[in-house]
Each structure stands twice: as structure tokens, then as C-alpha cells.
């Protein structure tokens, strides 16, 4: 009901605020016997680590993942395996300066949830956004890292990368370049221009948005029809990331201008002739590559002066200081991957419950 759990078969419940003891996730429904090498899980966390310059804030967050339950190293094996019981994951905070938020106690920051949280709860933890902070997504990445180990066994791969940032779009898609620049950008030249754009905007005390594309190799048959269509659940997962303002599949918004004869993917004995559907038909994966794009808004915490009101509804001018990123990209990249993985692993396990032995 209260919305802090994702998934039905592979259920992830997260907890924690930006400036509390830490954040964490409890996974209920991980199949037993999955090898969970702590270093592989930590590697996923490290993809979300803030960089040293440019688009990321200088705040240091080691984000050390701890596994508190749900695993057991069988005698004679090197790594823990899941036991089928809840996997509790925690990342304790080490670097929280709540003092620096004291000046925000009385005002609502534009673009943030300060005003809507207070409307909902009547009480608000003003320190760094509290539960609404992007820090919460670290717990998603942790859970997604576990999901990745399960998906690996089913041959399901997920990859996210940047296709636009600050008005700079890619012109070529060379997935091998993704690891070669800090924006996870598949176009080396565009990555350089993004770097430049980010520097420029940083000087202006402003922030930028962008577009992330996520692709997944996925067997046919995943997804539940009607309300829990695969794209509906993927959209749910991705739109639940704070900075995401739109999501589209395959041809996406372009379908508005297409004819049926253009948009339909013809079928041949060796597969689909095109992929406007983005790998999903009638809510169920069709074996084609799943293709998703999400629109990422500029980070609302800017150094420029903005008009707002305080708790007494009086006009104030605020300037949000502190350690902030210029863009949610690239740190949102592993978060997008995590949400797609959590959705796919959930549907993989939901699907298995119908794989019933029949005459």
C-alpha cells in the first residue's frame, strides 16, 4: 500500500533516508542456490559511485554493500548462495552532513518533493530530501545486483547507456564505447561534447537533462497480459526513478506519425524483420530485443537563485548550495539497469509458476 515494495514474485522492499543511519533493501523471493559473490554485487554498486568531477558531485560515498541475511556458504564452496529466505542488504551512511540542510528547514525547494511530502504526511524530514533523496536508489542498485545473478542463469542481459545529455545527442551507437567514457555514452565524439556542455552549465550554476536507452536480451514469453503487461511494469519501474519524466518502447512516440503498415514488424522464419514493437507484443516479450528510452529531467538543485515560499507561504528567494550533481546522468544509468532487471526477474519467476506439467 505505502509503495516501498517492488515486484510480486521477486519482492524488493527498500528503506532509508539520505541522512539517517543508512539505506537498505530486503529481497523476498530470490530463488535458492544462486551464487552471490559479494565482489560482483559490490561492482554494481561501484557503477553508481560519484565521479571526481564534471557531472557528478564531489561528495564521497563509498557505498559499501553489506549482506545481512539470506545466504549460506555450503561446506566446500567458496561463495555464499541464496537460501530462499529474505536477503537483507544494507549500506550504512558514513558521510552525512545534515547541518548543511538546516537553512532549508523552513522553505520549499522548487523541483523537489518538499511541498508534496508535507501535503501528504504533515511531517517532513528536511535533510537532503529525506526519503525522496536520490540516495534511495542505492538500495535499488543493490537489489538489482542480486537480480542480475538470477538473470544471468536465464541468459537475460540488460544494458543502459546515454543517448542524449544537455542537448547533445549521439550520432552513432557503438556499444563497445560505453565503458570508455564516464557518461556510458556509445558515441565517443558525443561524449566529448557532453563533457564540454556539462562544464559550461556547471559554470552557470545550472543543471541538464538527457535521455537514457536501455536494451535487454530476453526470451519470448515473459510478461502478463492486461494490467501487468511487460511494458506497463517496466514503465512503472522506470517512472519510479525520481528524475524520469517519460518512457517509451521501440518506436515510442514516433508511432503517432506512423502508418500501421510501417509500424507493424513483419515476421520471417528467422525472426522479426524490424523492431518497432521494442521486443514486446500484447504485453509479452516476443524474443526480439527489448528497447526502452527514458527522459531524465535536469537535477532541480541548482546554484542559481529561485523564487519559492516558506512554511508561512511568504515569498522567499532561495539558492540551493551543497554538493550536487550537474545531471542525474550518468549515476542514473545503473539505476535504470536495476529497475529493468528487477522487473524482468520478477516476470521470469512469475512466469515459472505457470510452467505447470500438463498431459
Amino acid at each position: 500500500m505505502a509503495g516501498n515494495t517492488f515486484g510480486k514474485a521477486f519482492r524488493v522492499s527498500t528503506w532509508g533516508e539520505s541522512h539517517g543511519t543508512g539505506i537498505g533493501a530486503v529481497i523476498d523471493g530470490c530463488p535458492p542456490g544462486i551464487v552471490l559473490d559479494p565482489e560482483l554485487l559490490q561492482a554494481e554498486m561501484d557503477k553508481r559511485r560519484p565521479g571526481q568531477g564534471g557531472a557528478s558531485s564531489p561528495r564521497k560515498e563509498p557505498d559499501r554493500l553489506e549482506i545481512l541475511s539470506g545466504t549460506f556458504t555450503p561446506p566446500g564452496e567458496d561463495f555464499p548462495r541464496s537460501t530462499g529466505t529474505p536477503i537483507s542488504l544494507a549500506i550504512y551512511n558514513k558521510d552525512a552532513h545534515s547541518k548543511s540542510y538546516d537553512n532549508l528547514r523552513e522553505v520549499f525547494r522548487p523541483g523537489h518533493g518538499d511541498i508534496s511530502y508535507l501535503a501528504k504526511y504533515g511531517i517532513r524530514d528536511h535533510r537532503g530530501g529525506g526519503r525522496a533523496s536520490a540516495r534511495e536508489t542505492a538500495a535499488r542498485v543493490a537489489a538489482g545486483a542480486v537480480a542480475k545473478q538470477v538473470l544471468d542463469q536465464a541468459g537475460i542481459d540488460v544494458l543502459a547507456y546515454t543517448v542524449a545529455l544537455g542537448g547533445v545527442g549521439i550520432r552513432e551507437k557503438n556499444l563497445e564505447m560505453i565503458g570508455a567514457n564516464r557518461f556510458f555514452c556509445p558515441d565517443a565524439d558525443a561524449a566529448e561534447r557532453m563533457e564540454e556542455r556539462v562544464r559550461e552549465v556547471r559554470r552557470q550554476g545550472d543543471t541538464v537533462g538527457g535521455i537514457v536507452e536501455i536494451v535487454a536480451d530476453c526470451p519470448a514469453g515473459l510478461g502478463e497480459p492486461v494490467f501487468d503487461k511487460l511494458e506497463a511494469e517496466l514503465a512503472h519501474g522506470l517512472m519510479s526513478i525520481g528524475a524520469v519524466r517519460g518512457v517509451e518502447f521501440g518506436a515510442g512516440f514516433k508511432v503517432a506519425d506512423m502508418l500501421g503498415s510501417e509500424n507493424n514488424d513483419e515476421i520471417t522464419p528467422v525472426g522479426f524483420a524490424s523492431n518497432n514493437a521494442g521486443g514486446i507484443l500484447a504485453g509479452i516479450s516476443n524474443g526480439n530485443e527489448i528497447v526502452i528510452r527514458v527522459a531524465v529531467k535536469p537535477i532541480p538543485s541548482i546554484s542559481k537563485k529561485q523564487q519559492s515560499v516558506n512554511l508561512e507561504n511568504e515569498t522567499v528567494t532561495i539558492q540551493v548550495g551543497g554538493r550536487h550533481d550537474i545531471s542525474a546522468i550518468p549515476r542514473i544509468i545503473p539505476v535504470c539497469e536495476a529497475m529493468v532487471r528487477l522487473t524482468l526477474v520478477d516476470h521470469l519467476l512469475r512466469h515459472m509458476s505457470i510452467a505447470f506439467p500438463m498431459e
Copy 2:
């Protein structure tokens, strides 16, 4: 698990196939005491009724809504009221010609779920799409009509209209024009050009896509943070409509090119100075108008010849006959309204469960 239920507090479970006995919905969680005038409910159904020409198919579907349970007319009152028990709604089929689908038994139609359903279930009801048929959405509209009566009591209004069809976009937004043309289009001139475009495409045996915008007046405080953010659940609901391929909120995909200082909605003592957020901040409604757009793909059933394969994976050329619409618009309009209403009423009731008396 199997995905035929929507909502957590106002739960709607639908059933039925395009060519079976009928379709229906069971609502569990409707508050007691809501007046349910059968004529008001039927009026919502009628908005989805196929038109006589143009974009809609000539198939006649009276779609007579029957209320099978969950209401009771108190002594001395004129209309039934909800009792708090499940409301069972049914629309029995009267006009199903399953014979006309026999030729589709052995082939997979491009753009349809034939191939993915078979991959998932190993068994397929080939008649008119079975469960994957758009006919299923009549049950959503029926449930949405009940949701509307609840929302009315909270002053929450939802309105959907067409902003683009077959490449024709609106240039002005005059909401009073919506009822004056069969596309629910707020631009009279654009509506005429849409009409023309639809006629042209019909002659070609093809179909067109478009864009629908949905707005909602909604008080601040609805939505649950983190995974069940209001936009995440709205996206879930809208993306679960078969023809929808993308969804965006407020500024939507335009945020990719915006600066933080442009995108942030400044706050004044009388409200927000702009509405790039589309009425939702950090997953919770902020009192501003909720603004959503969805991309609607062209209907995949076209009269043109298409390449496909049969059950033996042999190449076949198919031509889908039968009674089909040229566009999911305008019939998708009341379905979009229904999904937004079902999402909002669910969050209204979920929110009330925290309205706890405190010291």
C-alpha cells in the same frame, strides 16, 4: 501474479475474451454508500461505442452494462448505493462472429500478440485476439465509471482528448470543442483535417497512430513515494492499454533539452508559476493540474498484405479482413480516462488509510 487485477485499495479484476460469453470486472474496495446511478455508468460505456464511419469500425456493440452485485437501494431512495462488498460488472457479448477468424488459426498476425501469447501459454484462443483483444478495455471503462462516482465526491476530474492523429497535430487547445467532434479533439480545425486524413488512410487499407493528452484536477498529497510514485502508477495503468507505446508527464521528453532553471517550477504564494512537473513532485501530487500524454500506435490489423509465418514457421502472406477501426483513437479516449481514474481513486483510498488521528 497473473496480472488481471489493477489497484491495491480499489482493486479491479477483469475477465473475458473478445469472442466468449462476455467480459466483466469485479471491483473490490469501493467505499460503501456511493450512489451508482446505472444510467451514469452506462453513459461512460457509450463514450467507447464504435462510431458509424471514419476511424471506428462499423461493428455494432451495444455494450450494455449489467451490475450483478455490490449495490443495494436503501428504502426510500431512488438509486442503488455501493455496500462495500464486491461490485461485479458484466457486458455480455451479442455480436461475436468467431467464424470470420478461422483463417487466422494457423498464422501469426504482425503487430498482434498471437506469437507472444503462444510462446507464453502454449495454447491460444485465436478468435479476434482472445484476451488480448481491445474488447477487454470495455471492462476497464465499466470499472472506471464506478471510480468516477467516487472521485466526484473528492472533486477529482479527469479529461482526455486527442492532440495528434495520423500526423495532424492540434494548434489550439479549446477544451469546449472536445464534445463537438468525434475525435474528442480540442481544435475544430485540426479535427476536420484528422477526418480527412482518416478517410485517405482508410482508402489505402492502412491505419494511423496519434497522441492523447489526459489532464486531471487533483488535490495535493496523492501518491506513494519510491516505487508507487503517482506517475509510476499512472504510467503503469496507461502503458497497460495495448496500443500505448510511450507516456510522458508535464514537460515530458522535452526535459532532455532543458536546463534545471528552465524546468523547475517556481513557487509563489498563490501556487506554482509553471507546470513542467505535470502536477507531480517526488511521486506525490502537488495540487497543480496533472498532465499526461500517451503515444498511440496505429492499429495493427490492416487490409494491406503483410509477410508473416504460420504455426510451422513457413512464410505466408496475410491480409487481415474483418471489421476494424482505422485508429485506436477515439475509442481509446474513455479507456485512458478510465485508467487515470482507476489510478487516482486507488491512491485516494490508499492515502486515506494514513489519515490517522494523531495527538
Copy 3:
């Protein structure tokens, strides 16, 4: 939330009141491909049919089960199979005399939910108990009949029988006798004494309680630990039957007087040496027979005069007329079987989602 759905993987949502259009159930999550012979399903309904005399009321309810969706007869086969989509089941009312309840509109019947329903909802359908009527259980039996077809494929059998009625207990347990008397009693002699007792109590205008035992052959490994232990979910299902006031497993309440050395079931290479655990250890089936007993209260509708109050909280004397049974037994027998089947099939499917291919 509102409690009209049972199960997580095999979800059954029921609807309907005693004196409305009918009652029904929607099953979401039935595996595809299950043969659903309508006559086999109807046979389960017929077990709940009121008898001609004695313990059952003379009211005639043909309870004709109709399957509205979710099945498809593949070409060349004789019976419909489940398609994996929702199975909608309906039993339309034919014999509802709501007039005879008019005298109850203003009073609360002792032992019935009249007073608690009004406290909860502020509105009450007074006709025959409305949603609280035992008639609601017909929908459970219908859904349980579908569950039976699934369980048959996994070799899971469920059987319920009467071990006490009106103070008459069984002295021997001969399961072959169950079909030979109308109480589903495994002791022919006890069945005769029960018959006598029921006649006697009927003459007094009173009603009697009893005890039902349910056994199930079930493979080891079903059930989820901690909150969804198999016995917890079985207790939930059985206690949700209106007349049930207690439930116990294996040695049940006798464990209070036992030593650990007496209660523990020792394990041998060919199985357990005893079955005090009733087939469940730590919430998971252990391969031994599952053994459950439930206490069934006397039907509250008696012909004797009782003290109560009316809507104005004034003392009244009421005498409940109409067509009523002397005991919930034997009609509760197929309902108990249905709830155990619905619980087991749900756990069977939930378990399958962890049966993941591992290295």
C-alpha cells in the same frame, strides 16, 4: 485490502449476495492447458446441494455453474482447457424470496453479522445476510472445483468428513463409509445416531454444531516459511468460513498436555513413525498426510425466541423463520475441501516459482 480475494498465485476473487443476481468467482492464475470438464466441475457443486430433509433446509438451489471466460476447446479436443487467462464462474440465483426477510430489516439477529456489518459499512443489505450469507460459499466450491483439476495433475488429494455432530462423535474411521450417508461420516453407526440427534433438535427449533476433519495427500516442500506457513494459510482459509470457530493440526490442542518426547514424530528411513505434526513442519509440508480439524458452530438462525435489539436499540424478541438448515454440516464439507484445495494449489504454484534451474 477489502478481503474478497484468496490466494497469491492462484487468486480467487468472489462476488455476490444471497438475494442478488447471483454469485461468482474470478480465478486469476490458473495454469494454461488444464482440462476443465464442465460436468466434473458441476459434480463438486452438487456435493453442496441442500438435501431433502434432516440437517439441510428444504430450499431448492440447483446451483448451475456457468463458465464465462478463460477456457478454449482446442480443435479436435472434446473438453475446454484453461488458457491462462481469468476464469470467470457464475451461479445465477433462481430462487430468492427477499420478501421473507422484510421483517428483519429493523432488527439484529443474534449470532449473525447484522450488527457488525452495520458498524463497519453504515449500510446493510438485510436480505438473508447479504454478502455474509453462507450462499457466498458456493463461489468457493466452484473455484475449488477448478483447483481440484490442477491438483489432480500433481497427485494431491483432499478429503473432508464429519467426526462429530450435535454431540455425537465417531468411534471408527472407515473412509469408505463417507459416501454412504448424508453426513459424509466415516462411521455408519455414528451417522445413524447423528440422524436421530438432528431430528430431535429440529423438533426443538434448535440447531447443532460439530467437527469436520480434512486430510490431504501432499508432497513434501509446499508452504512458505515465517508468515505464510502452510498451516497458517490453511487456518486462514478455513477460519474464513463463517461457521468455523477453531482449527487445529495433527495432535492439535492435545499438544498442550504432551511432552516433547511424545509429540515429536521420529523419523525412519521409510518415513515418519507418527504424525502429531499433521504433515507440516516449520510451515512446510513434510510428505506425511496433512490432518486438520475444524470446529463448526450451530447455525445461528433458530426458530426459538431470542432477545435482541432493533435499529433504535430497543429490546425486541425475535424468531427467525424461513428455510434454514439444522447444521452447517454436511453442506460445509465441500466448502472445507474447497478452501484446503485453494490453499494447496496456491502453494503449489508459489513453490514452482522457486524451482529455478541452477548450476
Copy 4:
């Protein structure tokens, strides 16, 4: 699906094994603004603390409760309040001797879940029962302590006490005596005889069962009809405690021998004339005291020799050493209170969601 979450509106998800890092619970859905004095929460934990002799094991478990998230101390207040976000509770282990369980790695202990867990998961954490250990209940008590603070605001009180232990039953019920003996027994004389009985059985290396009664003051109107009847959910919660083998409400199993005229609680202008219903009618609380009894089995870990098998299915004789209690009573008392509180607070919040403003 995997069963480690309890509740629908006030959702408690627990994690942890007996010999891992610790155990914990995440509460999602606690209303905002509830004062959560850490000392009051710890006081509930302390009720579950092992005693120094007799029925409890000598193992020392300080069970220090830590609150990791979900609270915030508003400026100028002394205690933290819930914020409406997830409350993460942890109890880190300090005293885990997993070495002492090495001899159990290859054998199945009678009366324990060793054999059923292995059947289900194919992998087993053999140390002290792993997830199946009674230690898991500490997380329930922690969550129940939070529930208590919410229920206090609605005037709902819950109290559990021992009515039978090792064959010794109470003869009088003086609730003021409950705090005066270590068995939470309302009969001082019986408590002494229980003490004696426990000493005797300890000398024999055996263990004993008993019966716990739980009462709750609860307003009318809580509970959902049909499947989520209040007694069904209470039975679910209580039967999910490992040692509980039966549960009954009000007159309980005695109803089997009662007439309708005896069992019905007549209604007077000042309330019910009796309470055979145990405070619940048709699944909804009627304002009378809720009365529940549960049968508690003897702890299966006994010092006596028992027959069992090892992983190779060979006969072995085992003798379970280590630090064990003689009875689950009294430590189960706060666990029973916790499960009743968690059920009632869930229904309180579920009920409020229908308290909708109507004309």
C-alpha cells in the same frame, strides 16, 4: 509470494537467521506522526528476554533494538515520530555459537523443519534452525511494539497470558497476577504448580506444551468479510508462530457440542449478554472483547535420545544438546501479543480506507 511479509496496510517484512548477522523487520505503512519512544519499544523486546532458569534457556540475548530509518524528531520535541516512510528495525546478533550446531549438519532433528526445508529449497542453513529458528520471532515483537504505539491511539489493548502449561491449568483468572510470575499466569497457585512441573520435566530432559489466551479490547467494525475475516487473519498470524498447533475463538471447539440457542449471544440495549462469539461476528469485530486461545506444542529440542535419519537416509540416534527452553511459554507470550497487534493495526488501517466522506 515467499511469505516473509505480514499485513496489507501495515506491512511487516522480516529477515534474518538464528546464527547470522542479526534479524530485523521493515514496516511499510505506519501512519506518520506516531511518537516512537525507543525505551517503550525496547520494553516490549525485554518481555521476550530469556529468563534465568526454569522454562527459559540460559542463553543470554540482550536483543537491543535499533531503529535504522523512518523516524524524525521534529524541532522542539523529545522523541522521534514516524514520518510515513519505512521503519527499519534491526537486532544484531552478539551471541551466536554456530560451532555447537556442527554435529547437526548431517541429520534431521525430529519435530524441526530440517527435513521440510531441505525438501523445499534443496539447500539448508543447519545452524540452529536458520530461518526456522524461534529467534525470528524477535523481529515480530519489534514490529509489534511499533504497532502498539499506533493501537494506543485508537484505544485498542491486547493482552496474552498462560492458561495451561505442562498439564497444569488455571482455576481462576486474575489478570492482575500476570505480572507477578514468570509464566504470565493469571492464577498464582497454578503458576507455582507450573514452576514445579517445569523443574520436573527439565530433570527428565523433556519439554512441555501449554495454552495461551489472548484478549483484545477492540471497537466494532474491524475486519473484512469473506476471506479476510478478522478471525481468519488472526488465525493466520497466530498459526504462523512455529509452536502453535491450534487456534480457537470465543467458545472455540466447545461449539461442536452446543445448541444454537446456547451458542448465540443475545443482544441487549447495553451490549451482548454473553461472548461465545469471542468478539467477532461474520468476520467483523462486534465491540465485545476478542478472545482467542492457541495450543502451544512442546519445544522439539529435547535432551532425550530420539530416532531419526541422516542425509543418506540411514537410521541415527540423536540427542539435541545446546541451550534450549523447556517450553515456548512464556517467551511466546509477547509474540502472540505482537501477532494480534499486527493483525489489528492492519485492519484498523484497512478499515480507515473506507471511511470515505459521503453525501
